[in-house]
C-alpha cells in the first residue's frame, strides 16, 4: 500500500517536473523570440537612421558645393572686400520673420566687420514664401530691391535691403503698398522716377525669377540659410543661436 502511494507520488512528481521543464522551455522560447524581434526592430531603426544621416550629410555637402562663393553671384548684394579672411553667404526672404530676426541681430555688426575688411558678406534674397507669385510680398519686395540695385547700385541696394527688414511686415499682413516700397527705395538712395515704373509693374521680374531659380538650384530649401567660409551653419536651435554662432565665427 505504502509502496503504491510512493509510486503514484513519484509519478506525480515526475509529471510536475516535466511540466515545469516544459514551462521553462516555453518561457525561454518566448524570451528568445522577443529578443529576436527587438533586435530586428533595432536593426531597422538603426538602418533608417543611418540612411537618413548619410542622406542629410550628402544634401549638406551638395549644397555647400553648389552655392557660389560670396561676392560672386549676380543675384545678391555684397559688402566687404574680396581680401577679407572670412566669407558669409546669407540666403533669405524679405518676408521670413527668422530672417528679419537674424538681420536685426547681425546686420550692424556684420557691416562694421565688413567695413574693417574682416568679412565679406553676400546677401542673396529670393522668393521662398511667395511660392512664385509675383503678387506676393516676397516677390514684390525682391522686385523693389532689384530695382534699386539696377538703378542706384549695390550700396543703395544694401540700404534698401536693411530698410526692407527694418520695416518688415507680419507674415499674415497687412503688406506695404507699392507707394510704401517706393518711399523706401527713395530713402535708400534711388531716384523716384527711375524705380517707380519697376516697382509698380514688377519690372524686375527677371531678377526675381533668376535669384529664386539660383537658390533652388543650389538646394536652398529654407531661410535663413547661412554659409560661413563655405560651410553650412547647422546645430543651432533658435535664430538667436544662429546669430551668435555666425558672429562668433567671423568676429
Amino acid at each position: 500500500m505504502s509502496d503504491g502511494m510512493s509510486k503514484s507520488q513519484k509519478r506525480a512528481a515526475t509529471a510536475a517536473a516535466l511540466r515545469e521543464e516544459q514551462q521553462r522551455r516555453e518561457n525561454r522560447r518566448r524570451l528568445i523570440t522577443i529578443g529576436a524581434v527587438l533586435a530586428a526592430m533595432v536593426l531597422i531603426v538603426g538602418g533608417a537612421i543611418l540612411v537618413s544621416k548619410l542622406q542629410s550629410d550628402k544634401q549638406q555637402s551638395d549644397l555647400e558645393s553648389a552655392v557660389p562663393p560670396a561676392g560672386s553671384s549676380a543675384n545678391g548684394v555684397t559688402i566687404g572686400p574680396d581680401s577679407a579672411p572670412h566669407t558669409v553667404v546669407i540666403y533669405e526672404d524679405f518676408l521670413c520673420p527668422f530672417c528679419g530676426e537674424l538681420e536685426h541681430q547681425t546686420h550692424a555688426k556684420l557691416a562694421e566687420l565688413a567695413a574693417d575688411g574682416k568679412v565679406q558678406v553676400e546677401y542673396r534674397p529670393f522668393d521662398l514664401l511667395g511660392g512664385g507669385n509675383p503678387e506676393s510680398y516676397s516677390e514684390r519686395s525682391l522686385n523693389a530691391f532689384a530695382a534699386v540695385l539696377d538703378s542706384a547700385g549695390p550700396e543703395a541696394a544694401k540700404k534698401m535691403h536693411d530698410l526692407l527688414y527694418e520695416n518688415q511686415p507680419s507674415e499674415s499682413g497687412p503688406f506695404p503698398s507699392d507707394d510704401d516700397l517706393l518711399a523706401l527705395a527713395v530713402q535708400a538712395g534711388a531716384s523716384e522716377s527711375q524705380v517707380k515704373d519697376d516697382i509698380e509693374n514688377g519690372g524686375q521680374q527677371d531678377f526675381v525669377d533668376q535669384a529664386t531659380a539660383a537658390a533652388q538650384k543650389a538646394g536652398v530649401k529654407s531661410t535663413p540659410t547661412v554659409l560661413v567660409d563655405g560651410k553650412l551653419q547647422t546645430g543651432f536651435s533658435t535664430v538667436d543661436d544662429l546669430a551668435t554662432q555666425l558672429l562668433q565665427e567671423v568676429g
Binding site: E26, R30, T33, I34, V37, L38, M41, I44, V45, G46, G47, A48, I49, V51, S52, K53, Q55, S56, Q59, Q60, C96, P97, F98, L129, E171, S172, K221, S222, T234, G235, F236, S237, T238, D241
Partner: protein, 158 residues
C-alpha cells in the same frame, strides 16, 4: 463574447494607429533635412539634440507603425506609440502657448505656417484620439490577426 469584440476592436485600433505611423514615418524618413528644420522650428531642444532627434523620430515611427500593423510585440509597440503621442501633444501645446506658428511637421513639411493657430486644436484632437487608441491596444492583451499569435501561442493554462 465580449472578449472577441475587444479582440476585433483591438485589431482596428492597431491598424488605424499603425497606418498613421507608417505613413508619417515614410514621408519623413526620405527627407532628413526637412525633418531637422521641422524639429528645430519647435524651439524646444538644444541645438546639439535637434539633428539626432530629427533623424531618430521618423525611423522609430516607421518601426512602431510596422509593429502595430503586423501585430508584433503589440503591447510594447502600443506603449511606445502612446508615449510618442504624449510627446507630440506636449510639443504642439508648447508652440501654441508660446505663439509660435509652425506646421507640426507630423507628415513631413514643417516650419512656418500662417494658419497654424487654427490647426493646432485639430492636431491636438487627432493626436489625443490616436493616444486613446494606443492606450486601448495596450489594455487589450490579444488582438485578432496578429503575428504575436504565431510567435507566442496561447499558453495552455492561460
Amino acid at each position: 463574447m465580449k472578449g472577441a469584440v475587444h479582440e476585433w476592436a483591438g485589431l482596428v485600433a492597431r491598424l488605424v494607429t499603425g497606418a498613421v505611423w507608417l505613413v508619417a514615418g515614410a514621408l519623413k524618413v526620405t527627407s532628413p533635412d526637412t525633418s531637422i528644420a521641422a524639429v528645430r522650428a519647435y524651439e524646444l531642444l538644444p541645438g546639439s539634440l535637434v539633428e539626432p532627434v530629427a533623424l531618430t523620430l521618423p525611423a522609430l515611427e516607421l518601426v512602431v507603425g510596422l509593429a502595430l500593423i503586423l501585430g508584433v510585440l503589440t503591447r510594447g509597440a502600443a506603449v511606445v506609440s502612446g508615449l510618442l503621442f504624449v510627446a507630440f501633444i506636449i510639443g504642439i501645446v508648447s508652440v501654441w502657448s508660446r505663439g509660435i506658428e509652425i506646421d507640426c511637421g507630423c507628415f513631413g513639411g514643417g516650419g512656418f505656417d500662417p494658419d497654424a493657430s487654427a490647426k493646432y486644436p485639430w492636431e491636438i484632437a487627432r493626436d489625443s484620439g490616436l493616444l486613446l487608441l494606443s492606450a486601448y491596444v495596450v489594455l487589450v492583451p490579444r488582438t485578432r490577426v496578429a503575428v504575436d499569435r504565431i510567435l507566442f501561442p496561447e499558453r495552455s493554462h492561460a
